[in-house]
Amino acid sequence: MGKVVVVTSGKGGVGKTTSTAALGAAVAKTGKKVALVDFDVGLRNLDLIMGAERRVVFDLVNVIQGTAKLSQALIRDKRLETLYLLPASQTRDKDALTEEGVEEVIGRLRQVFDYVFCDSPAGIERGAQLAMRFADEAVIVTNPEVSSVRDSDRIIGLLDARTMRAEQGEHIAKHVLVTRYDAARAARGEMLSIDDVLEILSVPLIGIIPESQDVLRASNLGAPVTLSEPINAAAKAYLEAARRLEGEDLPVVVPFERKGFLDRLLGRRAA
């Protein structure tokens, strides 16, 4: 039985989709069978980040409504044969996802895949709640910024109350993934530090992704950063986070910004 991991945040724009793609690809690279499921019905984007936007024929809603088979809707990644994507629908119908339908699809994916990553929509409404509903674990994507931390706290509350596991009195493993972290700004006291975020949320850390231009570059190219630029600092951080997700006991190192002498002199900020 595979493990179901929801990637969630509450707040939009913090990097849920990017992180789903990067973590999923990182795990798939190790040979594990991975399915990425886009729950953002009406505003799907995981297909675009994965570079599969032109290969979408059927989607999650088609599978739930029975108009397509699961095997027809799953798109196999062109770079990694163990990586699959189940895109969201572009329908405007908010009730296109039913709890029973989601339960069935997740249940079937769990039988075939080692990992099922559910990319949650922003917010705390129905879509976000369905994305987390059947999860065994949660990755809470947080930016070191007040509104993001507050929304993460709200999502943690929901994970502990509204997931199937929580309702059955079971434990749901939660991990914080800090993204867009700028070590230099945090050191200058201009940005919440990792310790601040962890102390406030009191959820263990799974990784720190440094602010990096290569993440945007990977999105532009339609490739998860862990596949396209594996030696980049952000990609390395995602690869390590994926190993921790798989249970490896790997210490988290705060990413260090490498600055050349000229950068320091001119006050240029490394991206």
Binding site: E145, V146, V149, R150, D153, R154, G157, A186, R188, G189, E190, M191, L192, S193, D196, I200
Partner: protein, 90 residues
């Protein structure tokens, strides 16, 4: 502002941290209890419904939380066609 303040770089992260700690302590507490405002709203609605027929939308209940005191505002609009003329405002 003294000359010294110019050199002392004002760091905003500790402010962010403190604001979050205060806010989240409060929000977690209120999350643990059932939503007071919606309970009040439902019960007030039930009391009124015993005497006058009003639409759900005509009842507004809101809570303004202050540090030492909170205000509960209840705004009930009863259409004039209603047999019992009433006006209430909190």
């Amino acid at each position: 502002m003294s000359i010294l303040d110019l050199f002392k770089r004002r760091t905003s992260a500790p402010v962010a941290r403190e604001r979050l700690q205060v806010l989240l302590a409060y929000e977690r507490r209120s999350r643990a209890q059932p939503d007071l405002v919606s309970i009040l709203r439902e019960e007030i609605m039930a009391v009124i419904a015993k005497h006058v027929q009003i639409d759900q939308d005509y009842l507004q209940v809101s809570m303004d939380r202050g540090e030492t005191m909170s205000t509960l505002e209840i705004d009930i609009q009863i259409p004039n066609k209603s047999p019992v003329p009433l006006a209430m405002a909190g």
